[in-house]
């Protein structure tokens, strides 16, 4: 334990704002503004599994884009390993691309259908020698058969395609993996397998994981720390045990109460 938590954090976000301008709705009025993020601050400790949970429109996806350096904040700071990334020009973000990787929700939308799996996975490595050796390692790490590299994305099921995106994300040996709704498009049985795989990989490669989801149960299962977002703000954050066990903010309580619970339904009073 350190007295100064910031020295331990990989990702540090301070008072982050992102405002979009909507297209003009009238000729003379001002263009309406949408505040996607309104003063968000948090620290992701090295080696932690940091969950971001929220409903649609809460600003989760905007936040992911900013963390990955795919978009710029309107105000505020984002640091990666103590280095400001919000002020760096695109050409100097190369270090971030190899140290922070993203797995997206829809594997079909993020895999080029005309590329062979081995080329997809090795793409972040450029023309590095030994890249196909690395592909073999990665296929094994995500439990795909060795001959998968020669095939194309459409020849795989949804769960297998998500394994391919995970392998690609791990290719440059990142320290941080950002998973944006990685199991939301998957079937229940497959969902559990992919969550187990992510947990194994985080453990094996000592990764820090930022896990974004609308699903409270999944976040509880995967993460040790959680931030609850609503309408561009973090309304509550802390250890998963505390936030789920004793939610302080009314919105967190509402979310937890709204999530259907199997055990509660099965142990509830008998139908009259």
């Amino acid at each position: 334990m350190s007295d100064n938590p910031r020295s331990e954090s990989v990702v540090s976000v301070r008072d982050l704002w992102r405002t979009y301008r909507r297209p003009r709705t009238s000729l003379f009025g001002p263009r309406p503004e949408v505040h996607a993020l309104r003063g968000v601050s948090f620290d992701v400790a090295r080696g932690s599994r940091f969950g971001i949970v929220g409903e649609s429109g809460s600003g989760k996806s905007t936040l992911v884009r900013l963390l990955a350096g795919l978009d710029r904040p309107s105000a505020g700071e984002i640091s990666f390993d103590g280095r400001r990334i919000d002020t760096l020009p695109e050409r100097r973000l190369g270090f971030l691309r190899s140290r922070l990787q993203v797995v997206f929700q829809d594997p079909m939308g993020s895999l080029d259908p005309r590329m062979r799996v081995r080329d997809i996975i090795s793409e972040p490595l450029g023309r590095q020698p030994g890249r196909f050796e690395r592909v073999r390692e990665l296929l094994e790490a995500v439990d795909l058969p060795a001959d998968a590299g020669r095939r194309y994305p459409h020849q795989f099921s949804g769960g297998q395609r998500q394994r391919i995106s995970i392998a690609r994300a791990l290719a440059p040996r990142p320290g941080v993996l950002v998973a944006d709704e990685p199991v939301s498009a998957l079937d229940v049985l497959v969902r559990a397998q992919i969550l187990d795989l992510l947990a194994d990989l985080v453990e094996r490669y000592a990764l820090t994981m930022v896990f974004v989801s609308h699903d409270l149960a999944v976040v509880r299962h995967v993460c040790d720390t959680v931030a609850v977002m609503r309408q561009g703000e973090i309304v509550e954050q802390g250890p998963v045990r505390d936030v789920y066990g004793e939610p302080r903010h009314p919105y967190t309580r509402e979310l937890i109460a709204a999530a259907p619970s199997l055990s509660a339904a099965l142990s509830g009073p008998e139908e009259g």
């Binding site: 079937d187 049985l189 609308h214 699903d215 979310l255 259907p260 619970s261 199997l262």
Partner: protein, 258 residues
């Protein structure tokens, strides 16, 4: 008590492959039955067969009877008189179930006018009442809106209003809340229960979410690759599953939020 819906030996095939095999079950009047299984297990196809909405390339055999009337192989003219009146359906994606170019109030009114002699003004007034019944705020204003002007949850309320327009004896819901936020889902589930509860309608509820089925249904059927592998009261099947597949579904679903 005689069954409202009786499905007997339902078999759906396309070319050489069997998609649903020897599925038999019944639903009593006012009963709430869940149909669960992983994707590709045949849940939605079974619902389509009951509604008479199977794709052309699928061949059906067996029997589907509603109040004693055979639906399987019945002429379209006869089925379209039942659909929306005796059996109604709510799908996962409300945007595809609504006409994007028609005001919402008119779409609800049309659903009534298709099956009842009722003039336009009275139907529109009844539509506003229905929109109010599914707890849409300012129902008069919503009635004049187009689907794209509404949120996902509001659209699903409109679809539910259309489904309830003629007090169907059987409401089929196919993953009605999968695309919705969790707080919205809770409200829609309450409305579905209230909607069938008020009129004593029966419910066939299709989902992959065991927690949802446990909160909504009394009885559950577990479908694996087109076959019912286990069925019974929700508490029995999900509380003490006997089949390996049900156990796997449960193990995958025991991530809990509270």
């Amino acid at each position: 008590m005689s069954a409202l819906l009786t499905v007997d030996g339902l078999r759906l095939t396309t070319g050489p492959s069997t998609l649903v095999d020897d599925v038999s079950f019944h639903i009593g009047p006012g009963e709430r039955v869940g149909l669960i299984g992983a994707s590709g297990s045949g849940k939605s196809l079974t619902a389509s067969a009951i509604m008479g909405l199977l794709p052309e390339e699928i061949t059906a055999s067996g029997s589907v009877r509603l109040d004693g009337r055979q639906l399987l192989g019945a002429p379209e003219r006869q089925l379209s008189r039942l659909r929306g009146k005796d059996i109604a359906m709510v799908f996962q994606e409300p945007m595809t179930a609504l006409n994007p170019a028609m005001r919402v109030g008119r779409q609800v009114a049309e659903a009534m006018r298709l099956h009842r002699r009722i003039d336009r003004g009275a139907a529109l007034a009844a539509a506003v009442e229905l929109l109010d019944r599914v707890r849409l705020p300012e129902p008069e204003r919503i009635a004049r809106a187009y689907p794209h002007q509404l949120s996902g949850g509001q659209r699903q309320r409109v679809v539910l209003a259309i489904a309830l327009a003629n007090d169907p004896a059987l409401l089929i819901c196919d993953e009605p809340t999968t695309a919705l936020d969790v707080t919205v889902q809770a409200r829609i589930l309450d409305l579905i229960l209230a909607g069938v509860g008020e009129q004593g309608g029966a419910l066939l509820f299709i989902t992959h979410d065991l927690a949802v089925v446990a909160s909504v249904c009394e009885r559950v059927l577990v479908l694996e690759q087109g076959r019912i592998v286990e069925s019974g009261p929700v508490r029995q099947v999900l509380g003490a599953p006997r089949h390996e597949y049900t156990k796997r579904l449960l193990a995958a679903s025991t991530l809990e939020a509270s």
